[in-house]
């Protein structure tokens, strides 16, 4: 039979079930793919209050964390890692900027989705830390695809907007 519809009893698989979770790339792997052959110099920044305000004003997007995780690529350009937390999603992503600060690529590093508000709770997020292969995610290892009402990628789009503003206001000075 080519296709079967099943209803899996959740309790028999795991006690706590994120609706969906996937790990796509590590930071190092994303760096290698987005800047082939480059080496990287870590250049993390801590935003002060004024910078946060300026970034929010320029991008129209709220700044959640004050650390900017940025690396300079030896071949020119910047590699940034950030994360967005949506209503149901928790998504770390990587952004590659070219020499002019334009978007080269965006790669999603991981994707976690839950129903309800669990994603906003630190405890819910903590279950993923160091547990990538843990029992909590067994359902996820088994089920690698999900279909249903289309999810908007607006949170990541906003996250990219915020990082572009961060680049323009904070990082671009280094390139000049």
């Amino acid at each position: 039979m080519r296709s079967r519809l099943l209803l899996i009893p959740v309790a028999s698989i795991v006690a706590t079930v994120p609706a969906f979770a996937a790990t796509y790339l590590t930071v190092e792997k994303a760096q290698a793919l987005m800047f082939p052959g480059a080496t990287f110099v870590q250049d993390f920044r801590m935003l002060d209050r004024e910078q946060v305000r300026a970034i929010e004003k320029v991008s129209g997007v709220r700044v959640e964390g004050r650390t900017v995780k940025a690396w300079r690529a030896s071949t020119g350009g910047w590699f940034l890692v950030d994360q967005v937390v949506g209503k149901h999603e928790f998504i770390p992503f990587a952004l590659a900027l070219d020499l002019d600060g334009a978007v080269k690529d965006v790669e999603i590093l991981e994707y976690h989705e839950a129903y309800g508000g669990e994603v906003r709770l630190p405890a819910w997020r903590a279950q993923f830390l160091g547990k990538r292969h843990g029992a909590t995610l067994r359902l996820t290892e088994d089920v690698k695809n999900i279909s249903g009402a289309t999810l908007s990628c607006r949170h990541v789009t906003d996250g990219v907007k915020r990082l572009l503003a961060t680049y323009a206001l904070v990082l671009a000075a280094v390139d000049r």
Binding site: R2, S3, R4, L5, L6, L7, I8, P9, V10, A11, I13, V17, A19, F20, A22, Y24, L25, L33, H88, F93, D105, V106, E107, I108, Y111, Y115, L139, E141, D142, V143, K144, N145, I146, S147, G148, A149, T150, L151, S152, C153, V156, T157, V160
Partner: protein, 294 residues
């Protein structure tokens, strides 16, 4: 054999087509896999840039702005999608209609496009002229949105490219419109918006596509029409009609409330007790999952 048991599985995701597009391949060395995935993402990005309602320079935006005044040249891919859209519109007697954009804007699902006019409520797919020279013209004030068909098209283009690159097994998932190819069956979880306590609906698919139509996650104001329906099509293409008895369209519930029945679809009224859905469309066999009423 399930794909997860194959040695090297490479999976990546990017924000494209307004959603998260994930591509997973297995059965090829990792470097080949990344090369093939890059090329597949390029194909999807092309569809994104040409057919996005949101991007100001896309063909769709240029059509919505100018096609009433003069014929507008579009990319051959856009033209092909429009041609399929028109065929599906005709076959479904207008249940699938890309001029649905007017409603989506009114509902706040899409922003108002850059356009000098308000759409004529009488306008429909019949007012779109696809000219032989590859240009498109509107004959009534209208706006089009390809969101209900372009994802399926992009998935098919990506799968074609992956297969041409020698990838034996994989899955391309554009926000739920997905296609699985290769010898191994893959398990797909169906997102239904509400949880039926204690169970997770999944479907095992092999060389098949799934298009989903659910009202989960939509604003309440437009949450009308059938409960989540999932359309599984064997053999592949999400958008292409092959024979009359295999007609499948990729539609969204915004587009006239639900998956549009096409000639050859068996419209089934579910009689099972406790199931709320009064109507659903099955495309191949019984692969439609019903959300249980609360």
């Amino acid at each position: 054999m399930r794909s997860s048991s194959l040695p090297s599985i490479v999976e990546r995701a990017r924000p494209l087509l307004g959603t998260y597009v994930a591509i997973r391949v297995s059965g090829v060395p990792e470097s080949c896999a990344h090369g093939a995935i890059d090329a597949a993402f390029d194909q999807i990005a092309l569809v994104h840039h040409r057919m996005s309602f949101h991007e100001a320079e896309s063909d769709v935006s240029r059509l919505n702005e100018n096609a009433l005044r003069h014929a507008v040249q579009v990319h051959p891919r856009t033209y092909e999608v429009l041609r399929w859209a028109q065929q599906i519109a005709e076959a479904s007697h207008g249940w699938f209609d890309v001029t649905v954009a007017r409603h989506l804007v009114a509902w706040g699902v899409l922003p108002r496009p850059r356009s000098a006019y308000d759409p004529d409520p009488r306008a429909s797919w019949r007012d779109i002229e696809l000219r032989r020279d590859g240009a498109v013209r509107f004959h009534r004030p209208t706006w089009i949105d390809l969101g209900g068909i372009a994802k399926g098209y992009a998935v098919d283009r990506a799968v074609e490219l992956l297969r041409a690159s020698g990838v034996p097994q994989g899955c391309v998932n554009a926000g739920g419109d997905l296609r699985v190819f290769g010898p191994a069956a893959e398990r797909v979880r169906l997102r239904t918006g509400s949880r039926v306590r204690g169970v997770v609906p999944v479907v095992d698919v092999e060389n098949a596509s799934i298009a989903s139509s659910g009202r989960a996650r939509r604003p309440r104001s437009i949450a009308t029409g059938p409960e989540p329906a999932f359309l599984v099509r064997r053999g592949g293409s999400l958008y292409r009609r092959r024979r009359a008895d295999q007609d499948r369209a990729v539609t969204r519930p915004e587009q006239r409330a639900g998956l549009a029945p096409l000639p050859g679809d068996r419209v089934r009224r579910d009689r099972a007790p406790g199931l709320a859905n009064p109507r659903c469309v099955t495309s191949c066999r019984r692969f439609v999952f019903h959300r249980r009423s609360a």
